[in-house]
Symmetry: C2
Subunit: 446 residues, 2 copies
């Protein structure tokens, strides 16, 4: 078989070829490492990378396969892990000098699940400082002068640049969907509580989500399928039946999906190119799309998000604040100081109102719409590396704990990708992927 | 059969006799109403009582039985309900003029469950103002110059005075255990989340518990058995297998229970009579009891309780505060004002620390002890009606969500009852009743 461009194989194809013995994990990982050597000097997606150790894992996977024992769904497939997920065999530094050289004694639950599925953990990808807003060193692979987005900057850029087919990230405001959109890959953040966050830096129990990056919907589905679990170490996970992400996502919807086009109260921030893109989308979808207003108090939802994030962040970064505040960025210090001032009553009201808002979506989804369609950001990745861009169009869905996916369906005039965000009802994760596939196919047809 | 003192029948006996046709519900309810006529002018346990309507329910129960259809476990048995549980057929005034004449459109989940079990809802019992500290009109049935305790004052007093065999109450600090102890009945507060609080005045989702009052352990078990449910309207309830309270509570423990005697950091508040009572108890239990220290940070637990209660109360009584604060007692106004000032970070830390403290009990219960034994209050019901007494010895177990029961095992020199509190591990409710029965039998033997 032709082994040029092995690094661009999808994870689904790669796993199959490795299983069948058509390629080795070592060949694949070597191809990815070669790609990293070629492009990462510019992109700078990795916080930690030991090529020999990645190859060692790949060779171990290859040897294991030769024993004839059954192999996992990601056997030999390379994955990048955001550097806020604990790993016992690599440092986990969370984008802060305070954690410099820290190597935890236990793997995050998700990392354990990936190892059990046979994945090769290639390295740790760059995160902003404590997965908040102060950028890391990563550049947008499409144009090095532009931000890759954040906070899962390295994961998005590594997948976009063909360095790995899969990567893990997290989202507390817009940290999966936004960088995926800016880098032109698919980013998927399942329902809150679907994937354990044990062993991952906690900013906000209420808002933190695990998310995934890939270049195909199949790959997103395959990766998500490995990660859903009940974990008594994450009190927001629940026992549930296995979710057949890949199978469901490949089904033809019995009816053409109905889309609710949500502009949000912040539509005025959206740039004219993106607005035009959405106009075309609306036209192309015809009777399958209708504009829908968010719940009446929607304009306040961003304040709820701010109150919850502020309060929980102040508690979760308490030790860092007490002992090392001079080593934190000024932006983070300001945020923690603000968070310390949040009143419990405002915090509790914010949580209660978000919960009440969720009720309005139950009706929306049950009565008429399959999926919300909405921007991921005001436009393509902004120029400059001092900011990771605006999370406004993501944070409300994070607040509501609803599953969201971004698809690289539009492009700006300067050649940068623009993502289209689809949002489903809580628990409707696999069907959201099905709708995403339907939409991608529909727009290719046109 | 002899129908004198029908009002003193246990609920278990009454339900059996009604089921067998030996007595009618009407006879029983009439006996209870006669008792109320005799003693309630002094005790004043009822916030609402319509004797004709209670009899009407009893006659309907009798007629239903005659149809030969199966009847519920509480068929025809009178129950008193604290006046913060919503009832569609009686006012629910929560001890405040702000709620004067309010009749809700739906029953509380627990009230529906009691009706489904066949109970006769005799009336609504007196609560302190909004189930907080400002006393209602109820007197202690053992001595009218003493407080009955609160906030479930009427329920405790009504059961103690023989007006009803069963009553419902709630506990957010010490509002079930304390009044039950002061009135000399059994009070039982199951594990947090065991009984739905839907349709009950909410002070604090984290701390509010439903509890029950009765004069025998059998009756406590029978009543609790009707009330445990999964209710999607109370997010802290969970689906679970039926708990056979009555059956389990009647089993002989396979080994004599081991008791952990917990003095708490507030032992110095306990009066000398109670201290002496506990000394005797320790002596009598011999090798079956050992003194145990609470977790290291225990002295702070009361602050955690205060922070959580303050913050959640301020949110939950927000409307009353905004629109009717001049109609609230000064004590409640002060409490709400304080609650409004609680920082979210302190609130969240309090919750996290309580959760962590709970872990220390897992070990304690798994390794050596069946039950904690500890005071219910500094002593017997204090003299005077301006205060409902000190909840200190209850609130820590409320904070921890652990099941607690008080047994009227001691007496003060002035003839007032003193309760002994047993506390079990979360979820160990039925076994706690079994231990309570063992202890009661053991002390009778001596």
């Amino acid at each position: 078989m032709d082994t040029t461009n092995l690094h661009l194989l999808s994870a689904v194809d790669a796993a199959r070829l490795i299983r069948e013995g058509a390629i080795s994990s070592e060949q694949l990982v070597e191809a990815c490492l070669a790609r990293i050597r070629d492009v990462d000097a510019q992109v700078r997606a990795w916080a930690f990378l030991d090529p020999d150790y990645a190859l060692q894992q790949a060779r171990a996977a290859d040897q294991f396969r030769l024993t004839g024992q059954p192999v996992g769904p990601l056997h030999g497939v390379p994955v990048g892990i955001k550097d806020i997920f604990d790993t016992t065999d690599m440092p986990t530094e969370c984008g802060s000098v305070l954690y410099s050289g820290r190597t935890p004694s236990r793997d995050a639950t998700t990392v354990s699940l990936l190892r059990a599925a046979g994945a090769v953990i290639v390295g740790k990808t760059v995160t902003t400082e404590f997965a908040f807003f102060s950028p890391g060193k990563t550049h947008n692979p499409h144009n090095a002068e532009h931000t890759p987005g954040g906070s899962s900057s390295g994961s998005a850029a590594a997948v976009a640049a063909g360095m790995v087919p899969l990567a893990l990230g997290t989202q507390t405001a817009g940290s999966v969907i936004r960088p995926a959109a800016f880098c032109g890959v698919i980013g998927f953040k399942p329902t809150h509580g679907m994937i354990s966050r044990h062993g991952v830096l906690q900013l906000s129990r209420t808002l933190d989500h695990i998310g995934v990056f890939a270049r195909t919907i199949d790959d997103v589905a395959l990766l998500a399928e490995q990660l859903v679990s009940f974990d008594e170490n994450d009190p927001d996970t629940r026992p549930r039946a296995r979710i057949p992400f890949l199978e469901t996502s490949r089904e033809e919807p019995p009816l053409a999906p109905m889309f609710a086009f949500v502009k949000t109260p912040h539509w005025e921030r959206v740039d004219s190119e993106s607005k035009e893109g959405f106009s075309e989308l609306v036209e192309e979808l015809g009777a399958q799309i209708e504009e829908v207003e968010l719940f009446p108090s929607a304009a306040d939802a961003w304040d709820w998000h701010r109150a919850i994030l502020g309060a929980e962040l102040a508690v979760n970064l308490h030790r860092e604040w007490d002992k090392g505040r001079d080593k934190l960025s000024e932006a983070l210090r300001t945020q923690i100081e603000r968070g310390q001032e949040v009143r419990a009553a405002d915090y509790l009201r914010a949580r209660a109102q978000a919960e009440a808002a969720n009720e309005s979506f139950v009706e929306l989804f049950e009565q008429r719409y399959d999926t919300i369609i909405t921007p991921t950001a005001p436009g393509a990745a902004p120029k400059g590396l001092s900011s990771t861009g605006d999370p406004t169009f993501c944070s409300v869905w994070t607040l509501l704990g609803m599953p969201a996916i971004t698809l690289p369906l539009m492009q700006s005039s300067n050649g940068l990708p623009i993502g289209v965000q689809l949002v489903g009802p809580r628990g409707g994760d696999a069907r959201l992927l099905r709708t995403a596939r339907w939409l991608t196919g529909k727009l290719k047809e046109i």
